[in-house]
């Protein structure tokens, strides 16, 4: 085990800004990208449903 306390873990031997800046932004990107993809899918599904409903009314 490398760390004697949680504070020591978060301090990263003085490199906290650099290590957590790297891991934090990577985690943020890998959370935001799937959310954006899910929004794009919801938009596509909703617009398809509207289009099909509109076509049914026309007939």
């Amino acid at each position: 085990m490398n760390w004697n306390s949680p504070a020591e873990f978060f301090a990263m031997g003085g490199y906290a800004l650099y290590v957590w800046g790297s891991f934090g932004v990577t985690a943020l990107c890998m959370i935001v990208e799937p959310l954006l993809a899910r929004k794009r899918r919801c938009d596509a599904v909703n617009s398809l449903r509207r289009e099909i409903a509109a076509n049914k009314e026309d007939q």
Binding site: N2, G14, Y18, P34, A37, R41, V45, L48, I52
Partner: protein
Amino acid sequence: MNNRLINWFKFASPQSFYPLAGRLWPWFAALAAIFCLAGLWLGFFVAPTDAQQGEGYRIIFVHVAASWMSMFIYCVIAFWAAIGIVFNTRLSGMMTSALAPTGALFAFLSLWTGALWGKPMWGAWWVWDARLTSELILFFLYLGFIALTAAIDDPRRADRAGAILALVGVVNIPVIYFSVKWWNTLHQGASVSLTRAPSMAQTMLWGMLLMALAFWMYAIAIALYRVRVIILERERHTTWVADLPEIKA
């Protein structure tokens, strides 16, 4: 045709690939989560402190994985681009569009984590080093690919233009990879090579490989998910899309 062989060409049609991708992506997402947890655990709690760089070296676990994936995804895009040009299949263009944003993201993360690593170790966020510059060019190639395909209204023409850009840009990949050998760079040489033993502790190496595997699985999962959305968008006027349960409901 032998019945026991899977007819792979069947999956070149968006209609049969859509449900297959839908079944596959949750598995890849789950694998990504498992490998990520294992890699982070190894990287933070098992891998020892580096003799020269202290705890600062732990950036390696995201930096190398993101850099490898940024190059690998570009190669996969170039592969699909070539398939699209040779066989004129619709799905290949959809695959390139589905992969490009994730590749751009990994190229950005490679540069970002590299800057955060460079500052404490070299004293500079950025230097015009061959490795860094060629990776920046890769990032711009991704952005150029996305912008070019988005600027052309007809998706089939957009695919062809994007495919040519992707194939021309692929020369940059060996440049990135060998930049640390060809030029005298500030960036260190390869940590892992096929021809010699790795120059790092076993646990560091395994942490790095697990993180690379996690990012790989993540990239497959998100690309499969996104290609399904692109199929819906592009095949919107077909009857099979209108008959899908998620659309009918």
